[in-house]
Amino acid sequence: MSSDSIALNPALESTRPIGDRLHDWVTTVDHKKLGILYILYALVFLVIGGIEATIMRIQLIVPHNHFVSPQVFNEMFTMHGTTMIFFVAMPIMFGFANYLLPLMIGARDMAFPRLNAWSFWLAAFGGLLLYFSFIGGNGLYGAGGAPDVGWFAYAPLTARVFSIGHSTDFWTLGLLVSGIGSIGTAANIAATVLCLRCPGMTLGKMPLLAWMNLVMAALVLLAISPLTAAQIMLSLDRYLGAHFFDTQAGGSAVIWMHFFWIFGHPEVYVLVIPAFAFASEIIPVFSRKPIFGYPVMVAATVAIGFVSFTVWAHHMFTVGMSSYANSFFTISTMIVGVPTGIKIFNWIGTMWGGKIEFKTPMLFCIGFLFQFLIAGLTGIMLAVAPFDWQLGNSYFVVAHFHYVIVGAILFALFAAFYYWFPKMSGRMYNERLGKWHFWLFLIGFHLTFDFMHIPGLLGMPRRIYTYEPGRGWDIWNLIITVGVFFQAAGILLFVCNLLWSRIKGPVCTSDPWDAWTLEWSTSSPPPEYNFAAIPVVRSRRPLWDIKHPEDPDWKYE
């Protein structure tokens, strides 16, 4: 990186030629710039994935609709799922981890800056590969297009015979490439947290965000590789005539399900544990109290990490397993409810008796808490194998996991956006627009996903492109689709707020929230080297110690 890029003055920065600044961004190895690249890239895919969801919902708004063809509908739900999990949720979590971890543990960069850039560009390339399928999926076969096998791509749908053209190959390659990037990032996060902490920051004094990202990194390392292995097997099947998932030659379609879900379930925790991390940083600051039960929070996170590897086959109750397997996976899945329940109580315990400030980040955190609780309750319901036999593959399941991913993860992400936006941009967002975003999105979310449980209970299966009138599903589908427009309006306000505040927002101080972790001790936005002098900490809330020398935390920890 050129030496003149250490421009602390934003005014000076904006006078440099655009080519130079672009070159800086493309060749950067700085964790903050890479973090922002990850986040922006994920936001672009969030909009794309959102448009795909909207197309599906418009198709389902009335029975016998002809907005899109069945083929396009299949492509939309495949691309929506794949995009949202692999190219929105994961990169956005990696982006925040990249940006925040070194700042929060008092380091100047990640452990492996070049690996970091490499991982980002691999992830970006994976996303492009997936979307290139819209143009290149046909190949020379005159068939294909975007992948249409569903985001978990069960065999034998993915076999050469049933998936002609290159659509499935783009899906496989996109995930393979971005998966390698994810492993690089996870190794980087783990090495950063373990090896670069500033003096005094023992493991027990790390911010919870660092702890939770460490667990997330461990999950990525152990969960993404099975998917990579399965993708290699699928490619061997498709191109070299191997028989892993070829039932005609004695292969097994069920083993693909096992391999996929042994990745797929820990993946949920890869996404939700960073969401827990945001809540664990934001709720204390806006409740003006330290986090309740720090050691228990850490223990619960590690416990969730372990248990998450023993529950995968609850995605497969309807496939038919032995009663022992059914019992085991029912029980192990219910056990997840214990550490997550502990966390919910700890967040409530943090708010209890606090002087709560209802700023936008806190509003989103409260939404997160409430919705995560409901999502967990329907999760417990679906963990019961007989209940799942009735409702597996129905809209009830779709409603359940969207409650987790949108209601919990996305809400926590919005909280994180508003909370750290001043740090990243040096400017304050517009509080009024933020509140509008919250309420619009909250109403839209509940219209869509509360009412989505009902057609599921009434027997509406997922992934159907249309349905017969008179089954009692019509009104619910109408309400679900109406909710989508509220959510879209909320997202629009969010994007406008970010763009407008980035340019015109009032310049803010280094510590607008009167917070306690190290990222607020350096300027907003932080200089390239983060800290002029590497900080030394003695407690979990180093900035509290500085602000209150008469009553520091380290006396009590």
């Binding site: 452990a111 950063t192 902490r197 003096p199 390392l221 990579t228 191997a242 892993f244 083993i255 391999f259």
Partner: protein, 198 residues
């Protein structure tokens, strides 16, 4: 940070953290282990499920010589790193070269085994489930040996140019972790393919 008063100097001097190279390599090894586990599970799951021949018992021969070579290379790379730690650069180069040679012998032996299987036994990746799982598992391992050999070659070239000094012993050590991992995986692959599966 604006408060130097928080800096007890005793704290700073005692502040030792793990090496990032080792942690990074252990992370990679964890990820790779998960990947090999899936291939091993697939192998074990499909033992005896092939619908046509050849079967492992008919065509597989236990590669004792190749296994001895690969396992001893773990020892030689250990001696190489130890030599470098003691600043014995030429001794390092000798042990490092031996490691490389043993790795190459292993790969050549795998190649000969595959040649025999393909051209004399008529077993390819698409013949039956045994072929599918055998070539992908052993091939994945051979791929890792190849990657290790590329690393070893780069180290060898640097050593011949006289650029490997004592201060690089930690990097050599981190690399040796990867090589040890490739060896340990071979023990697992060997057990599953040639002992349990045969």
């Amino acid at each position: 940070m604006s408060s130097p008063s928080l800096t007890p100097s005793s704290l700073e001097s005692a502040w030792i953290l793990p090496s990032r190279g080792r942690v990074g390599m252990f992370c990679l090894i964890a990820a790779e282990s998960a990947m090999f586990t899936i291939f091993l599970v697939a192998y074990i799951f499909y033992i005896g499920k092939s619908q046509s021949g050849p079967t492992p018992k008919e065509v597989l021969e236990v590669p004792i010589f190749a296994t001895i070579c690969l396992l001893s290379s773990s020892l030689t790379i250990h001696f190489a790193v130890a030599a470098l730690r003691n600043a014995k650069s030429s001794l390092f180069a000798i042990w490092w070269f031996l490691t490389m040679a043993l790795g190459i012998i292993f790969l050549v032996e795998t190649g000969r085994e595959w040649h025999h299987l393909i051209f004399e036994s008529g077993l390819t990746i698409s013949t039956n489930l045994f072929g599918t799982t055998y070539y992908s598992l052993v091939g994945l391992h051979a791929f890792h040996v190849t990657v290790g050999l590329i690393g070893l070659t780069i180290g060898m070239i640097l050593a011949l140019l006289g650029k490997v000094k004592q201060e690089h012993h930690e990097r050599a050590d981190v690399f040796s972790l990867y090589w040890h991992f490739v060896d340990v995986v071979w023990i697992a692959v060997f057990t599953v393919v040639y002992v349990i599966g045969r």
